[in-house]
Symmetry: C2
Subunit: 111 residues, 2 copies
Amino acid sequence: MGVSRTDLFTKEQNGLAQMAKVLAHPARIAILQHLIKTNACINGDLVQELGLAQATISQHLRELKEIGIVQGTIEGVSMSYCIAPEKWNEFKRLFNELFDQLETVDKKNCC
Amino acid sequence: MGVSRTDLFTKEQNGLAQMAKVLAHPARIAILQHLIKTNACINGDLVQELGLAQATISQHLRELKEIGIVQGTIEGVSMSYCIAPEKWNEFKRLFNELFDQLETVDKKNCC
DNA sequence: CTTTCGTATCGCAATATTACGATATAGTCT
DNA sequence: AGACTATATCGTAATATTGCGATACGAAAG
């Protein structure tokens, strides 16, 4: 017990939940926003910017990279991380799809 | 050690992360979608619909209610849960705000 | 070749989440 | 009142997440 019953749900539901999970930490939100603002930056910057340890930042970056919303390339000495635009748009599209489900029904006879 | 350092981040970042966390489980996605589809339904329905135990569903509903995206009223014998439209729109707005941050910058000189 | 710098990974401790049986609570029916 | 039904809460086991020091790794500099 304690393990998520992913088998009970649709691929779409599991996928959305997985995406949401990546966004479900303020450090990762902050990392994404910083990447957007400065467009491509190195890990070192982030350690300065956020107050977390280098190991922790690296771990968050790995999670962001694993789901594909962030990509990293070797930039000379250090790493250069940035938003992966296609994946970003996919996130955007899927969340909009979820949030628009209510609009289309648009019932006011709520409790 | 193990506890999220919410103190390091802005109110907005923590808020978004909190919202994402609620969406970060397929059961809760499924519950929201079911609530939208049938507009107001009882807990019992959900136990049939999803394959989870009654206690588990109730727990997920509580989390959804706690953040305010779902509201429940006593409907005769049972409970009637439904989407809280204002909060739903707030979610929608804040996620869009996040996802639109890239668009406005719109740089292609990515790594 | 050794040192240095930037980043990734390991290992662990603290905490959080998930699931569910058991039980409590509250309303309805007979 | 007693039985029944629907939902909430408690307690607990299994697992996942978070944070970080220590350490490994790899590229450039001396």
